[in-house]
Amino acid sequence: MDLTYTPEEEAFRTEVREWLRANVPSRPLPSAGTKEGFEAHREWERSMHRAGFAGLRWPVEYGGRGLGVVMQAIFEEEYFLAGGPERVTSLGQRLMGPTLMVYGTEEQKKRWIPGILSGEEVWSQGFSEPDAGSDLAGLKTRAVREGDDFVINGQKIWTSYGTFADWMFALVRTDPEAPRHAGITFIALDLRSEGVEVSPLVQLDGHSGFAQVFFTDVRVPAAHVIGEVNHGWEVAMTTLGFERDAPSASPAIYLKYVHDLVDATKARGLDGDAAIMDRIAAAYTDARAYQAHALRTLTRQARGDAIGAEASMTKLLWSEMGSRIGELTRAVLGEHAETDHSGDPLSPRERWHSRYWFSRAATIYAGTSEIQRNIVAERVLGLPKG
């Protein structure tokens, strides 16, 4: 075992840290759920791209930096610690770009990769539908071939950045007669097309983060199909594989949250409360165990091991831990969790509230905890399908 970083890694950390210190906006950007806020986030992405921090792990030939997974983990940690803005390009950079590199034609790569990197074209993900959530293969959005186009009708939902994104990579049903997984196609869709109607959904925390997207006779060139028609499920699994192959949610996040909790406990005069302190210590041990787990996973990724279904374990660990920390936060704040006290020594209410509700969302998005448990049970432990 050796937990020292190479001189290159240390130099990269310094580069990232210094750039972020000089460039992260001192006031938080307006919410990416507003037009103005979204454009401010896009502008931030442009500046990241100019500084060479877009597509860190992408091959150099595609405009990336060709860095390894350890470098990316370093970046994520520094980015969180510096309080960097939400990354509106993440679906493009983490999912669509790498998928194009595997399945895209030369023309498709040339068309879309530069925009993904620069932030000029922001991508959303069109997988979930009202009746196809955990059971993704039950999706119904229909695409029918007409000449050189597909004509798309249907609806996507829970589409992050759907309101302001430029493009969507979507799963559509191209063969309703085929077995469920065999009639699906992966297609790139211009959200400015005629027949696309976007309806923002207001989240329970008051933010407008995701949207419903309706398609009425939307014409999409057949040249926008990624991979083969009716083989979209394979492409989608590759896409999700990139999600799994990313470094785990940075352990720095949860360690920071626990330290914030300690501060809040002191501010509330609860630091002598043995019951509260036992729970805070438990949250800390959770976060440290997760940190060690993340280091173990990162080492395996850096060696080129496929993480596969075990990534579900990682997601289960961080999202469930985040949820426990969220509940503990409310217990520490007590009735003050409800109110907005200016001059309160606690961090601004807004931050606590968005953190809390985000922790509740995290056990749902990107595969619910229940789905992750099924995956761990069936594909890691080898239990029979139900």
Binding site: L3, D271, A281, A289, Q372, V376, P384
Partner: protein
């Protein structure tokens, strides 16, 4: 950045696993449960392949390993519910003597004897009421008033207590300490001994938990009810998935703690408490799930499950309970000695 075991450590794990399976299968653990005599040959075999002298320098006949090597073997000892004082001898007493060797004349010779399998040892740290195998050991490491003392057989008396885990035999100890029994190092040495014990116990707990998950997974795959394997029901799957995830992260936390001890990292002490607290909770969850999911058969004396269930329950409270360790962590978090 390499948070993984070396090829040598992987080989060490295999060596320990094979040896424990051969020398101390469940049938032998069960014999001890049923009042059977110890077999000195088992310890000879353990020492014969170098496991007793894991943390002893090669110049004294050991294999010159560190806490990470010890952690690897402790997991395997837990996996086998090994009924030998290996944790006490190899993970606590030997490293204490190694640290003391420069200042204490007794240490070198005892280290050679431990490495050769000629001496075994036990430890009574903090305010622990009982010592494992105290009646048969050659050496007792005793903490009193924050100092460590080394007592040879004959210099202390023991009285057996009936332990629930009958393969882990416990004794109360009566001993007089003196300047002559005292080991160098003062409170710092005693603290270090307790940290090593906590990390080693965490390793054993993780090994027990891994075994419990394996046994239970295999059982629910085979056991059919309502015309299908009970392991195909989500209620069963989800419980095992949660336990498995918790156990795997506890293992990583324990490896980190062992590494922190071996490398003298600033967070070694805190990490040891994290490891023991986390391993205790994960093993307790595995312990509960294992019996619950085995159902009635798991509640019988004749099924082997209780050999691990009971070792788990014993170690959960030994070398600092989860609550003890969290109390230490809470203090460190409050006094600001933990880096954010």
């Amino acid at each position: 950045m390499q948070f993984a075991f070396t090829a040598e450590q992987d080989a060490l794990r295999e060596l320990a696993r094979d040896l424990f399976e051969k020398e101390s299968p469940p049938s032998r653990v069960r014999e001890l449960f049923d009042g059977g005599e110890r077999d000195a040959g088992v310890w000879r075999a353990i020492a014969g392949v170098g496991l007793a002298g894991l943390a002893i320098p090669e110049s004294l006949g050991g294999t010159g390993g560190d806490e990470v090597d010890v952690a690897v073997v402790m997991e395997e000892a837990g996996r086998a519910a090994l009924p030998e004082p290996l944790l006490e001898t190899a993970a606590i007493v030997a490293p204490v003597l190694r640290d003391a060797a420069a200042d204490d004349d007794r240490a070198g010779s005892w280290l050679s004897q431990i490495a050769a399998g000629e001496a075994i040892a036990t430890a009574l740290l903090g305010d622990a009421p009982f010592a494992v195998d105290a009646e048969i050991v050659d050496l007792l490491l005793l903490e009193r008033d924050g100092e460590l003392h080394l007592l040879e057989r004959g210099a202390f008396t023991t009285e057996a207590v009936e332990s629930e885990d009958r393969a882990r035999r416990l004794f109360t100890v009566t001993a007089e300490v003196s300047l002559a029994t005292k080991l160098p190092g003062g409170r710092a040495a005693a603290d270090r001994a307790r940290l090593r014990a906590a990390v080693a116990a965490a390793g054993m707990l993780n090994g027990i938990a891994v075994r419990l998950v394996e046994m239970t997974t295999s059982y629910v795959r085979d056991r059919a009810q309502f015309g299908r394997p009970v392991g195909s029901f989500q209620a069963v799957k989800h419980r095992l998935a949660d336990v498995h995830s918790a156990v795997e992260s506890s293992r990583a936390a324990t490896w980190y703690a062992a590494f922190a001890l071996a490398s003298g990292a600033a967070d070694a002490s805190l990490s040891a408490s994290v490891a023991k607290a986390q391993a205790t909770e994960s093993e307790a969850a595995a312990n509960h799930a294992a019996l619950q999911l085995h159902g009635g058969i798991g509640f019988t004396w004749e099924h082997d499950l209780h050999l691990w269930l009971k070792r788990g329950k014993a170690l959960e409270q030994s070398y600092g309970s989860a609550i003890d360790h969290r109390r230490v962590i809470a203090r460190a978090l409050l006094d600001g000695s933990v880096d954010a």
